[in-house]
Chain length 361, copies 4
């Protein structure tokens, strides 16, 4: 039951890195939303491997097929199944992993939990699993824009890679700027040093992490359901369910603990007939509910666990041994994680928009 997300716009993802493919079923999508495979393919292409010189060379077209739930170019209101076949699988690269647990991967915990695992390429713990999420989110975005928030913008971008920080104004950054560089950062000046760092790491068989920031602009007031399903709580869960994440913060975040209440509070002012705040330390949520200001949150991604160095580990028989990383991998997951962050954001928002409509409209 852990592969199901959402209460009204409910998705069930499935699939392993090596096997018949990966995909998703979306149950609860509103009817009469224009939808074609092209709508889904756009974000899948942003997520797919092999898209630039700083991502993994695994070559997957990740072509999506919509199997159900649409008719003559529109959603039916019935479940939408999306299938992406695995093509460029190389199980033979993983034979050693059938016996040894890769450090800081999911090999050991999957084996301990289930008593069995598909050791080919990470199985279910592979980032390939996020294809289903990205496909479902492409549908979610269409629903959000057509039914709930026509001006909605969800933009994620790389905020830092290790100690290289991008200067980005979340209130103004443009999609074209982010998508215009292979790192997917919002600061053109940061691109070159970031690319250099990633290449340097790859050259050393090493890896690196960083922080992605996400902004949501033109969000309706009122999304979020206290007390447990606060908007930031569901966003936190969504982001921390992505592979390689270690932290989440919204608005002032951990830095906000250095302020006093007097410095931290966001004063209210009327502006063009709307209630606004003159600062946004809240990050767009108060009491678990969106206040109409931009949502701004950040996610920490650890350095990729796969490295090309011999490391201490243990094997299935419970003996100490060593393992050297193999296989194709990203030395830095952040550029490809940008569409994943946007995807999870869309899924949280569409579910809350539908819940808000059901209860409060």
């Amino acid at each position: 039951m852990g592969s199901t997300f959402g209460k009204l716009f409910k998705i069930s993802t499935w699939g392993e890195s090596h096997g018949g493919g990966v995909g998703v079923v979306v149950d609860g999508c509103p009817p009469k939303i224009a939808l074609s495979e092209g709508d889904i393919q756009f974000d899948l292409d942003r997520r797919r491997p092999g898209q630039s010189e700083i991502t993994t060379p695994r070559n997957e077209a990740d072509q999506a097929e919509i199997l159900s739930g649409t008719f003559e170019g529109q959603t039916l209101g019935s479940p939408i199944a999306v299938l992406v076949r695995n093509k460029d699988a190389r199980p033979e690269a993983y034979t050693e992993m059938s016996e040894k647990f890769r450090p800081s991967h999911a090999d050991y915990t999957y084996q301990a939990k289930y008593g069995i695992r598909n050791w080919q390429g990470g199985g279910r713990s592979s980032a390939r699993e996020t294809i289903g999420r990205v496909a479902a989110a492409a549908i979610a975005k269409k629903v959000l824009v057509e039914k709930f928030a026509p001006e909605l913008e969800i933009l994620a971008y790389v905020k830092s890679i290790r100690d290289i920080y991008a200067e980005v104004d979340p209130n103004t950054v443009a999609f074209e700027t982010i998508e215009g560089n292979m790192v997917r950062t919002g600061d053109p000046n940061a691109v070159e040093p970031m690319v250099d760092l990633v290449k340097e790491m790859r050259g050393e068989g090493n890896s690196v992490g960083g922080v992605i920031e996400c902004v949501v602009r033109n969000i309706p007031v009122g999304l979020g359901m206290p007390v447990f399903d606060r908007l930031e709580a569901d966003l936190a869960k969504a982001m921390m369910s992505l592979p390689a994440t270690k932290g989440f913060e919204i608005g002032s975040g951990f830095g906000g603990t250095q302020m006093t209440g007097r410095e931290h509070n966001d004063p209210f002012r009327m502006e063009e007939g709307r209630v606004r705040t003159t600062s946004n330390r809240s990050g767009g949520v108060q009491g678990g509910i969106s206040n109409g200001e931009n949502l701004v949150f950040r996610i920490a991604f650890k350095p990729t666990a796969t490295i090309m160095t011999s490391q201490e580990t243990v094997n299935l028989e419970g003996e100490n041994t060593e393992l050297k990383g193999r296989g194709r991998h990203d030395p830095c997951v952040l550029p490809r994680a940008v569409p994943m962050v946007e995807a999870m954001t869309s899924l949280v928002l569409v579910d809350h928009a539908m819940r808000q409509k059901a209860q409060c409209d």
Copy 2:
């Protein structure tokens, strides 16, 4: 539906700060667990207002009554309802808030979402709501220890208040140390400066925030359900559903983005017949599943929004105005948030322990 938490050990909390009381219904508790009101009262007393000179003077005994679900001192397997009456309510202190939105509180968003709010003392957004969580978690802890993990220890403590940091070793810190000081920090040397800072803030009508760290020791291997219900994802949601939280991180967290993969990976080694890691940058979870190492995570709490200063705000009529904080409040929520963090941790763990048993035992 936003006040329900958990899939198998399902809790529904209810209640406003001013009104008939607050409470919880626990649906799904295993039968034959010894349970009395005393078991619940212990943690409620740690959470209640008026317990020390640095907490709010609101005087609530917070006496719990178990209304159902037990018989002759044991749980029946049927729903357990717990009721705590509100006693020291002072709605008259909040009359001004009926018209004006307190900055960085939930007043405006509740009004915007629901078109109505109980403006007396924060209503549903009051920290008083957490009584139901703490009561339910006291039951959860008993279930965890009796059925799943006899040696389990869940310990939270104040890690920092603004810029004062406690030195605490999560692997060894003792409950008595934490509970032995009114701040609930794990570092005796940090107590005095922290108390001084809180008192100074209160003296200025100001407030302050900080970070709570939580460690779980002797946790079973195998808890957590990829891909969405990863253990850290559900912990993140649980923590970010607590009032005043702005961030969550586990293991290396945001700091881990400064490391390379070579530095960050946790090598596996056999130790006394068990698979262990020689470092714990993972924070006890890999691939969303507990690996048996200590869970270690941190939560950022913003400075209390209620301050005794005049602040800019707007009123129900959409006019700019000013408001000065009134009412009884904590200048720093962290000491009382410690049992709340432990409570949410217990609730996440018991649900995952039951899910693990259902699917994988």
Copy 3:
């Protein structure tokens, strides 16, 4: 988790026959619905024991207290907790049941499932548990009428007691007719023979069952969610979750199996600009979705299990023994089950109305 019902209008009932009381938490109720304790009390009074000479003499006022979720006479959108204390408890009447299982009661299965049970008066399996349902449904009805279907009418009535059948036209029967007799049947001519039969049964220490029919008039088109959450499927579950139920049928029901398709199909005709059917063998649902015709369904209730005769049974030690019924009971549950059937109907409809709004509006 088995005491939670509904996805959006989610209720959690709690309480045993003997203990602190019974009640419910409603999570997800729309805000700004006028609600007072009187709204709830009306249906509780129709359900309570001791209301007529053919019901149990247990004397319970069943006074409801709303503990949360309302403010100045309106719902807040936050959880609504309702509490009814147990008053006229007589545990001493049940001492023998602590050792012996009453035939066709839940004593044995509760003991076998949970390893423990509250043997006082049926514990959780007592019909007293339905108080929480009836209270929640009183709120649901207000929501339905104010937000979704202003002309909605939900009317249940006794259709038969053993072999005495009422002649009732579901399209025209009036609430006043039903409520005007102690049996709650819709046929004035059936009242006397039904009352006589029940009294005769009670005189013999025996009991009797029957069928309740329920009609829903002026229901919106479009409620129900294929494929699993068809409206009739959720109604069936709701009804079969009531104590003493053994069967459910909608429209033509079991009798419809005697017809051919040519006889059974409901022709469509336009009538006053609306699509109507000229017969209603479908019972108001087609493909799991309401078609705007009256919902008509029936529920079979078995004869009350408590009888004043010595019966063969076994005891806790696994020995054959005998037991003679004691305690206060209804010789026929149907009159008091009428408001329970209406209650479960309201709960199903409000949840589907909210789901329909979320997805399809």
Copy 4:
């Protein structure tokens, strides 16, 4: 969200009669259960069209492909996706239905609810949708037998077609007897009259319904979760979610209303060290929980709505018109509904077995 069933063994079915195919995702299956496509194919073949001279001539091999969730012949504990392509689709046979609503079909209600429908062959309301259920249930059965009840038997059979009744003893009827005749009845003497009736109906372009009875033998004591998730309530929902069902009853059912309590109660007796009842009017459940006796329940299926006669109906423009049935169809759905009833039974039981283990083991 209406296409998701189960809480722990959670299935999401998808697909329309005409389109990319139909299928299911099973989320929550225990790991290390031996599973191959052959296990699924067996029941799909019992369900598929064209299997005998009294079923629809639509020719579908219904070949299942397992896309994920298994490795080297065993389940992984991750989601299992099953895909069956549509092959013998004939959308051109349905052109008239794009404009006119077939009486007693789902055409009108789907159109009214969603504002759009796939009119080719029934779309989502087609019985073809049950392929996903049957495939998931084949997995559920393996889990039940391997983990919970090694001797479990789930047998459904045709009890009546219109007024032809089979004599069947649910305690002894054998799978081979049922599967040995094309009607799937348990009474060899009833086969010929039933086949004759179905053929006669088809000859007249008419159709016929009936009753399926299902027995579950060797079921563990303790399954079912009061108060809402009683075993019979979840069975009722499961059965009433199947196409063409109009009624459900368990044990004595509607007939039991003709008995008094003295006749109806099931006496307890010890037998070979087990608590047994000497009659089984309860149908294997008491208080919503299985008591170890055979589950026995019945489901009413209406006559097939598709008939080859001109019928009154209306069109999309809201005008009265006529429509004559076309397309391939079953004159009687019961023989093919037998495996569907067994499938839904398996899905209910596996979910409750896992829930029971989580809470009470």
